[in-house]
């Protein structure tokens, strides 16, 4: 009998094409997602060496970071010249090397981590890479998915493999049930709050427990998306009926007998009883509150009912970092988080730009208006999410509330396109990073769930979303 294996062990073993004596492996890559920012130098490298893309049919390119999200982009011209050059370079490279490609004009275009699953490119048991740290998102399907640098992008393009050493196994279990108003975003932030941004360094995390089982695929993607914010190379969730149901019928998912064959294998993708984890973290679902970040690292997270912490309450280098963070964020120790006034609300990103996220925000906004003077925008994660939200009437709710209803892209999550915060502007954002300057030079970011973002848009300050939920929802 073979030793019990974790889910990570199983996927890893299924992709080793060559192993050196020291354990360094060539890992086969099933799906390679490509966007415009981290790929031009890689394609250029291929061109200079006279190399081809080894498996263009397994390579999927989509522009997302730089693209404008305003409605005038249908004119096809990107005003920022550098952005245009990058998007044009992707267009040229995708065509020259013959990879799958969703240009800006295609309704299926969107954030690469939303397009991949939506189109059925991402399937259980696969290895998925992209020159983007939020590739961890695809782990929600039980796919081993992680970000790579541009040199590795070139390596995968040329060889369809990656030189890798195996990470350690970490289990994060969320038991029980979530309380009303608590969402997958709160769960993933609470985990980082508990483990720190370096807590997962050197590990692949498997998320499990009843709370994860009860989540939709959208929710699971939100959780895995931020595995990287906890330092982990990747996050994984064992596939189950929820996964298979989501995958079935997607354009690039297997069909008919092939689907059945795939399903048989997918059903073996779980951690065996007694398999070894190098680190285990357990949280009770009931203990998780709606949370918000106060600082400039995703680990700077607290329940919305808390106050801004005193930097002196931390240890080591974190004391200085917290002082710097409070100064940058313009906050004082002891200040109630709900007293923090918000200028801008951003709903979108690969963390929270899916249909369920828009539903959660719209639920709060129904029949309400955003605070006077508030700048609020919704940037759906893909053209198809946008179309679905329009069909479900969500777009109307957002527009009537006073939100801008944008086209798909990464937008203000990292502000590489014109959607940026100005100096000192304070934003409640459903994105994934609150780093200094992330959403614009000297911009101030508070990471929240879509429902919490909607609540802040209505009240004008960080708000416990449960105060805006109806009696029945709160029961």
């Amino acid at each position: 009998m073979t030793a019990p294996k974790t889910l990570y062990d199983k996927i890893w073993d299924a992709h080793v094409t060559h192993e050196q004596e020291d354990g360094t492996c060539l890992l086969y890559i099933d799906r390679h997602l490509v966007h415009e920012v981290t790929s031009p130098q890689a394609f250029e490298g291929l061109r200079m060496a006279g190399r081809k893309v080894r498996a263009p049919e397994k390579t999927i390119a989509v522009p997302d970071h730089n693209v404008p999200t305003t409605l005038d982009r249908v004119s096809g011209v990107i005003a920022n010249e550098e952005s245009r050059i990058q998007v044009d370079a992707l267009d040229k490279n995708a065509k020259e090397f013959g990879v799958n490609y969703y240009p800006v004009s295609d309704i299926r275009q969107g954030i690469v981590h939303i397009v991949g699953p939506e189109q059925g490119w991402t399937l259980p048991g696969m290895t998925v890479v992209c020159g983007d740290s939020h590739t961890a998102t695809h782990g929600a399907f039980g796919a081993l998915a992680h970000g790579i640098g541009t040199s590795e992008v070139e390596h995968v393009l040329a060889t369809q493999t990656l030189i890798q050493k195996k990470s350690k196994n970490m289990k994060v279990e969320i038991t029980g049930k979530l309380k009303p108003g608590v969402t997958p975003k709160d769960v993933t932030l609470a985990i980082i709050g508990a483990t720190g941004t370096a807590g997962g360094t050197g590990y692949v995390i498997e998320y499990c427990g009843q709370v994860i089982r009860d989540m939709s695929m959208e929710g699971r993607m939100t959780v895995c998306n931020m595995a990287i914010e906890g330092g982990a190379r990747a996050g994984l969730i064992a596939p189950d009926e929820t996964t298979f149901e989501y995958v079935k019928g997607r354009p690039h998912a297997p069909k008919g007998a092939q689907f059945e064959a795939a399903l048989n294998w997918w059903k073996t993708l779980y951690t065996d009883e007694g398999a070894h984890f190098d680190k285990v973290v357990t949280l009770r679902g009931e203990d998780i509150e709606p949370v918000v970040t106060w600082g400039t690292s995703p680990e700077d997270v607290l329940p919305i009912s808390s106050v801004v912490p005193d930097p002196e309450s931390f240890k080591g280098g974190k004391v200085e970092a917290a002082k710097r963070a409070l100064d940058y964020m313009g906050l004082k120790a002891g200040q109630k988080l709900t007293d923090i006034q918000i200028d801008t609300v951003f709903i979108g990103s690969c963390t929270n730009g899916r249909i369920e996220d828009l539903r959660a925000a719209a639920e709060i906004l129904k029949g309400k208006k955003i605070k006077d003077g508030m700048r609020a925008m919704v940037v759906p994660g893909s053209g198809l999410v946008r179309a679905q939200a329009e069909e479900e009437g969500l777009a109307d709710i957002f527009k009537e509330a006073g939100f801008e209803w944008r086209l798909a892209g990464c937008s203000m999550c990292l502000a590489m396109n014109p959607d940026q915060l100005s100096e000192g502007e304070r934003c409640a954002s459903t994105s994934n990073r609150n780093f200094e300057g992330r959403q614009g030079y000297k911009g101030r970011t508070h990471l929240v769930s879509p429902a919490m973002a909607a609540a802040a848009a209505v009240t004008g300050h960080l708000t416990d979303v449960r105060e805006l939920m109806s009696e029945t929802e709160n029961a």
Binding site: H18, D22, T24, Q41, I148
Partner: protein, 201 residues
């Protein structure tokens, strides 16, 4: 890729923890389609004011640290994005080695692809090296990859661990794609096997 063997140079102290990739190279500079020329924008938002003037307090702007080749940094250096622009900017500035108690995974890997040696040492060792770095340009630190040691200007020596294969590649300046191409038959065989076993992929 340039070989990394032995390096003696100025080390700059950056004790801040969680120095992220947005700090190392802000996204406005990611719009390039080249690898070179990013050194001038390394740590841009910490290094320059809005008008583009140098902020004199920032360590790399101080006269004694202008030729820094080694960075001694706080915990979890390089966290955040996968952008290789971060190590490109570091290398382009002339920094060839970063020392910290820990590094973010993707950044750590990216360093080796660009001839930069990231060194992980325990807190006590990093504290000593940080102090040594604070001495400025009169104090030269030595990093010896072959023997896996860092030596302070006072001669205090610390041994560090590094993956044997990564060390070999860095010492020899080897190109990963070239190395992998030597195993192309294994890749062919794997693909042929998968066409049978998992044809839906």
């Amino acid at each position: 890729m340039e070989k990394f063997e032995k390096l003696t140079g100025i080390a700059a102290p950056m004790p801040l923890v969680n120095i992220d990739t947005d700090m190392i190279i802000p996204k406005v500079f990611l719009k390039t389609i080249k690898r070179s020329g990013l050194g001038v924008n390394l740590f841009d938002e910490m290094r320059y004011d809005r008008q583009g003037n140098e902020i004199p307090d920032f360590v790399l702007n101080k006269p004694q640290y202008r030729d820094t080749q080694i960075l001694v940094a706080g915990d979890n250096f390089g966290c955040g994005s996968s952008r290789e622009h971060a190590p490109w900017a570091i290398a382009d500035f002339g920094i060839k080695c970063v020392i910290s108690t820990s590094f973010a995974d993707i950044f750590y890997n990216n360093c080796f692809k660009n001839g930069i040696l990231p060194i992980v040492l325990p807190q006590e060792a990093v504290d000593v090296l940080m102090k040594d770095a604070e001495k400025g340009s009169n104090a030269r630190m030595t990093v010896d990859l072959e023997n896996q040691t860092v030596t302070t200007s006072d001669g205090e020596e610390f041994h560090f661990e590094v993956d044997a294969f990564k060390k070999h590649c860095l010492l020899e300046g080897l190109d990963d794609i070239g190395l992998t191409m030597a195993h192309v038959k294994d890749i062919d065989a794997y693909e042929a096997r998968m066409a049978q076993e998992r044809p839906w992929v």
